[in-house]
Amino acid sequence: MSHVIETKKLCRSFGKEETLVKALSDVNLIIEEGEFTAIIGPSGSGKSTLLQLVGGLDEPTSGDIFLDSKKISQMSGTELSDFRRDHIGFIFQAYNLIPVLSAEENIEYIMLLQNVPAQERSKRVKEILQAVGLQGKENRRPAQLSGGQQQRVAVARAMVSQPRLILADEPTANLDSHTGAALLDMMKQLNEKENMTFVFSTHDPMVMERANRIIKLHDGCIVGDERRSA
């Protein structure tokens, strides 16, 4: 298995001097291809910060981040944009779909950025909509979909460009347990079928049940790393 993510002595601090807060301290981490990893820990432990750094949305105070052996911690803003577009899929807690675009258009958008030909785009959108169980709802706008359906669109958007890594920040937090479980099962299936790497930041026991690796964070440090067979 190849390393998808590798962090070396990763630190992230906020504020200065007396108000300095260390969100992450010397985090060394390797995530392998195809892992379904849950990063857990109490609020303020640094879960989201770690995901933001790995996703190239934030810059580390010190240390290095490698994604597919590419050092992303030194990339420029434009390079990072392209890198996120081509290698990372994001699933947010609040779905964060574009409200004026339909489900289909939200999914298609990233492929437009990648200049995927129209025919190929259409084919992939159909396939992914079927995979997430949203056939017949492709023309609905986010406001016309339930929370669970919106999160399915978000999952489809994250996966449609077939990125190496999908980062999900508390994806089930706004969903009821039944919808959350169904969504997680769907992601797990896609993970197994497509061998995509998923990293979750979560408090949700349902995510932990399905994860084949659980990393515990506390006060910005890794305090546990458990691998298990799913």
């Binding site: 949305l57 944009s81 996120r84 994001f90 964060n96 574009i98 409200p99 004026v100 990648q114």
Partner: protein
């Protein structure tokens, strides 16, 4: 293109605000178009009246005649020149004039008079002189039944000399041969008003004038009327190079009526300041709308950036939205301004009192519909909208995806 869809749908997202912005920008377009139409139309009307009154669109003289007129600065081959000029399809008519400042005498009174020799037929095709006859009959080339050359007099001069149609008029001047020129003429018409350009003029036929001044076939001035006054500058430049005669100067009406032209240009510049104020007020409203629109969507921009949209993509989106808004505004402004400007062009606004400008009376203010009065307001509205959208556009493009995602 999804970005076009996105821009259009973003505009429709807050319809009331978009509508207000369109109304404000459309109103700006309407006001600008109206101002330009009135300015251009009124000046066009004014220029037309001015040039058709006596100046013509282009004049030809001996060099330096306009600055220092002289009896002896004469054009020799006027008939050949008229024939050459008349061949140009832009030319409506050409006429020749001879000037001779004189002393006019009648009924025991003497007054200085500006005596002008004209070709009656050509002059009536070039200027409004024939239409200005308010007593008697228009000038002819022949002699009167009493054996005199006929003369037309300006109203003020006729009044000062107590002369009427049928009376004898004595003119005294200097002949081109150095002799004292004097002759008796019969008044056949009174022209113009006490304030109009020809108030102190006397008009004779070219034959009568030449005999009076002992002149050959020469003239002092050739006046050319074109299909439109806007053709004058280019036409005069071309004609000057065609003539290839250094001693002849071809001047457009802008050069002949320098003072009028300069004051017109100055007035137009004053109008541009008013237009600038209108567009400034409209732009502030647009800036507010675009800023509000981008602030409200900070989180969305964060998402777009997070999933890989380049900053330039966000910038393009905002500029496209502004472009659509300004295009819709211009179209709505055009729909309203076009009938209004059409009415102003056809009917105009009658002035309570005719305005006298250099002896020419203006009775109504008119509008004008042209690419200039339609296109310039559109360019100004679109340009200023895009300009004020630069600030929110750059701000949104430079946003940090993380900070934007954390925005409430």
């Amino acid at each position: 293109m999804l970005i076009l869809k996105l821009a259009l749908r973003n505009i429709q997202r807050n319809r009331r605000r978009s509508l207000l912005t369109v109304l404000s920008m459309g109103g700006g377009y309407f006001l600008l178009s109206l101002m330009l139409s009135m300015t251009e139309g009124s000046y066009s009307n004014m220029i037309d009246l001015f040039t058709r009154d006596h100046t013509g669109h282009v004049q030809i003289h001996k060099s330096n005649y306009l600055d220092r007129p002289s009896l002896f600065k004469r054009i020799n081959n006027s008939a050949a020149l008229i024939a050459l000029i008349q061949e140009d399809p832009q030319v409506v008519s050409v006429t020749a004039r001879i000037y001779g400042p004189s002393l006019a005498y009648g009924k025991n009174k003497t007054f200085p008079a500006n005596v002008i020799g004209i070709d009656p037929q050509r002059e009536s095709a070039t200027t409004y002189l024939k239409k200005k006859v308010n007593q008697g009959v228009y000038l002819s080339n022949g002699m009167t039944v009493n054996g005199y050359f006929p003369a037309m007099m300006g109203k003020a001069l006729a009044k000062n000399l107590h002369l009427n149609v049928g009376d004898e008029l004595v003119l005294i001047s200097q002949g081109v041969d150095g002799s004292i020129a004097n002759d008796i003429f019969e008044v056949v018409a009174i022209v113009g008003t006490s304030e109009s350009y020809e108030r102190m003029n006397v008009y004779l036929s070219l034959n009568g004038m030449r005999q009076f001044l002992s002149m050959g076939g020469q003239v002092h001035e050739l006046v050319i009327s074109l299909h439109h006054h806007s053709l004058a500058q280019k036409f005069s430049e071309n004609l000057q190079s065609t003539l290839q005669q250094d001693d002849l100067k071809v001047s457009s009406w802008q050069q002949v009526e320098k003072v009028f032209y300069k004051s017109m240009q100055l007035d137009k510049k004053g109008n541009y300041v008013s237009m600038g104020i209108i567009i400034f007020i409209v732009s502030i409203g647009v800036l507010n709308t675009v800023l509000m629109g981008t602030l409200e969507r900070t989180r969305e921009f964060g998402v777009l950036r997070a999933i890989g949209t380049q900053p330039v993509g966000i910038f393009k989106l905002i500029m496209l939205e502004s472009l659509f808004l300004s295009l819709v505004s211009c179209f709505s402004g055009l729909l309203v301004s076009l009938p209004v400007n059409y009415w102003l062009t056809v009917e105009g606004i009658a002035m309570p009192q005719p305005v006298d400008m250099g002896g020419v009376l203006f009775e109504s203010m008119r509008g004008e519909i042209s690419w200039f009065t339609i296109g310039v307001p559109a360019l100004v509205v679109i340009g200023s909208t895009l300009l004020v959208s630069l600030i929110p556009g750059i701000r949104a493009a430079r946003i940090s995806p993380l900070q934007a995602l954390q925005a409430v």
